[in-house]
């Protein structure tokens, strides 16, 4: 197990390096002179020169990349061209809301998707199965922004929920109503895939030999389905859900934009459309790194949870 995991970690490290290279390139293609941009309109020639030296812009590209890496490791992601704010601080401030939104989306969609998948697997080929699968295929085919816009329209008409922004942590009475709509839109992305994966994996598990053994022991249907079939199916489901974090992230970017949710996704989109290269670089770097870390965590967890892997 240690070998396999070490191998995965090594690959993740390489991916991280690749991501950092992309972040570095993003600053290289910046059309304006970054030093001049940082110095601002009132910057003197000497100041710009000093900043250039500080950033190592007079050095060869490889050295610049090394300097960039060391700055990133220290949490220095540069400053926004637009408002001179520290990119790192802005991102850290936006990371919390993004995490909140994703958790709020998963907290309803994962259990519901799991239940729908279980129902579909148990009634495979039946009416309920068909309904669940139809809903699932619609869920993966609908543009997230349409769901978001429909929810906005609905909320505006009924005045039931706030449709813009965030009002404090989501577990507070003020903050909670604000997250309902974005979390609904975002969770819908996961619902279909989770239901489908649960259905496939569970119906395979239900046909497994060891499930037949359990029935031969005299175990009842609840114990057979939940205690035996689902228990073995849960691991592959968790792994597959881990891979869905990518599409969840994509959805978050769109959802945050629609509902003006002050997260990293919206930060990235705004930075790109306004040409704020350092900010865009920082936000993308953050999202990519978060994705890699989540995947590593899922890998580690599934190795720990599976006795077949743990024993090796």
């Amino acid at each position: 197990m240690a070998g396999r995991l070490a191998h995965r970690l090594l690959i993740s490290l390489f991916v991280l390096l690749g991501v950092l290279l992309v972040g570095f390139l993003m600053l290289q293609v910046m059309p304006a002179d970054p030093a001049a941009a940082i110095a601002g309109a009132q910057g003197t020639e000497a100041e710009i020169e000093a900043i250039r030296r500080h950033l190592g812009l007079d050095k060869p590209v490889m050295v610049q990349f090394a300097l960039y890496l060391s700055r990133v490791v220290q949490g220095d992601l540069g400053q926004s061209i637009i408002n001179s704010a520290s990119v790192f601080e802005q991102i850290i401030g936006a990371a919390g809301p993004t995490l909140e939104l994703m958790c709020a989306a998963m907290i309803w969609s994962l259990p519901l998707g799991l239940c729908l998948g279980i129902v579909a697997a148990l009634r495979r080929g039946g009416m309920l199965d068909r309904v669940v699968m139809a809903v699932s295929v619609m869920g993966v085919s609908i543009p997230v922004f349409w769901v978001g816009l429909l929810l906005v329209q609905f909320a505006a008409k009924t005045r039931a929920f706030p449709i813009q922004g965030r009002a404090g942590p989501i577990f507070t009475p003020d903050g909670f109503p604000h997250v309902i709509l974005p979390a609904t839109a975002l969770g819908l992305i996961l619902l279909g895939p989770v239901a489908r994966m649960t259905r496939t994996t569970l119906s395979e598990a239900l046909n497994a030999d060891h499930v037949r053994t359990a029935r031969a022991k005299g175990a009842g249907p609840v114990r057979v389905v939940l205690g035996h079939a689902l228990r073995t199916a849960l691991l592959p489901i968790i792994t597959l859900v881990g891979l869905q974090v990518g599409s969840l992230m994509g959805g978050a970017v769109v959802t945050e934009t629609i509902f003006s949710w002050p997260g990293v996704g919206r930060l990235a989109v705004n930075a790109i459309t306004t040409g704020d290269y350092p900010m865009a670089q920082g936000a993308i770097l953050f999202l990519a790194t978060a994705f890699i870390l989540v995947n590593v965590a899922v890998d580690v967890l599934s190795e720990l949870a599976d006795p077949r892997l743990r024993g090796r």
Partner: protein, 345 residues
């Protein structure tokens, strides 16, 4: 017994107890996309307490369907019909699912072909046996665990307490099958159905497992229904043999009689495909062809396209199972075969 009518008393053999399992006209049909598929066709079986009956046949003969039908574990697409299907006098076709569940593991148990997959891969061996115990007996986990370790020990597993803590993948194939046997016999069931329990194991382990099943069954007075395609296993284990072909019973006989004078050409063929039997210089009749597709069964005797003796009635009339000599029944128009063979030479 007191009020039993006179004539029944006369025909009942008092040396034989009431049969444990009786199946008459047992028919299993699967609903498929291409229409109904008959996997078992009017099979008659009886099993006395403590007896070992081997059910023999090629793959596709319906022997695994038979075992699952008896356990009530067939999928929902299967329909079971029978003139009579009783276990210890209880009608299994009319029993509620809840009562059947109570019977599984206590009255009848089953072990399977693939010990590698028949155990839950993510739960410890001991926990799985404890579960089997506590499903039917309301005892504390601690007590159940002690019983589980005793059961493992009874199957000859060394260091049973340690093995109970192991996950299935940490044991060898033979060990896993021992664990499954321990689990199946933990409530001392009256019937053990063993579905090719040694097929997936190393040859060296096979004999040990067979001995274990026989010894434990004898010890606990458990009757065994042994599903196999291996005539060597039959010779070693069985009191009586039932031969299945394409979902039908073609011959039943006491083990000794079957080996000395088989009365169905298919049985002859099965024995012919057993190497050590040929060595004695008996006529070898390898079975040509394959088991017919159940959707396009040949008319008459289902075996006739592959039968060296097929002629006349074999092509048109389905042969019924009839007595050839005491205790031996054959569904062949040409039985007793000795006459056919004699006439041929």
């Amino acid at each position: 017994m007191k009020h039993m009518p006179q004539d029944t008393m006369l025909t009942t053999d008092i040396t034989r107890p009431d049969p444990l399992l009786v199946a008459q006209g047992l028919t299993v049909t699967f609903a498929t996309d291409q229409g109904p598929l008959r996997a078992l066709d009017a099979v008659d079986l009886t099993l006395a307490p403590g007896e070992t009956l081997a059910v023999v046949g090629e793959s596709g003969s319906g022997k695994s369907v038979l075992s699952l039908a008896l356990m009530g574990l067939l999928p929902g697409t299967a329909r079971i019909e029978a003139d009579s299907l009783t276990f210890e006098g209880r009608d299994l076709t009319a029993i509620t699912e809840r009562d059947f569940r109570a019977l599984r593991g206590t009255g009848m148990s089953m072990i399977f072909q693939e010990p590698a997959t028949a155990l839950n891969p993510v739960r410890r061996i001991g926990d799985q046996i404890v579960e089997a115990i506590r499903l039917h007996e309301d005892i504390p986990v601690r007590k159940a665990r002690t019983r589980a370790i005793e059961a493992l020990a009874a199957t000859g597993i060394p260091a049973p307490a340690e093995r109970a803590e192991a996950f299935p993948h940490q044991l060898s194939g033979g060990m896993r099958q021992r664990a499954l046997i321990a689990m199946a016999l933990v409530h001392r069931p009256r019937l053990l159905i063993a579905d090719e329990p040694t097929t997936a194991l190393d040859v060296t382990v096979q004999a040990q497992i067979l001995d274990l099943i026989r010894d434990l069954a004898r010890e606990t007075g458990t009757a065994t229904l042994f599903i196999t395609h291996d005539m060597g296993v039959v010779a070693e284990m069985a009191d009586r043999v039932a031969v299945l072909y394409a979902g039908r019973l073609v011959e039943t006989a006491p083990s000794a009689a079957l080996f000395s004078s088989p009365e169905h050409p298919y049985t002859v063929g099965l024995l012919g495909s057993m190497p050590q039997m040929n060595a004695r210089g008996e006529p070898m009749l390898p079975i040509q062809g394959t088991v017919p597709d159940p959707r396009v069964m040949p008319p008459g005797c289902h075996f006739h396209p592959r039968c060296p003796f097929a002629a006349g009635a074999c092509l048109t009339d389905r042969p019924a199972l009839r007595q050839v000599r005491p205790g031996q029944m054959s569904a062949c128009h040409n039985a007793p075969l000795i006459e056919t063979l004699g006439g041929a030479t």
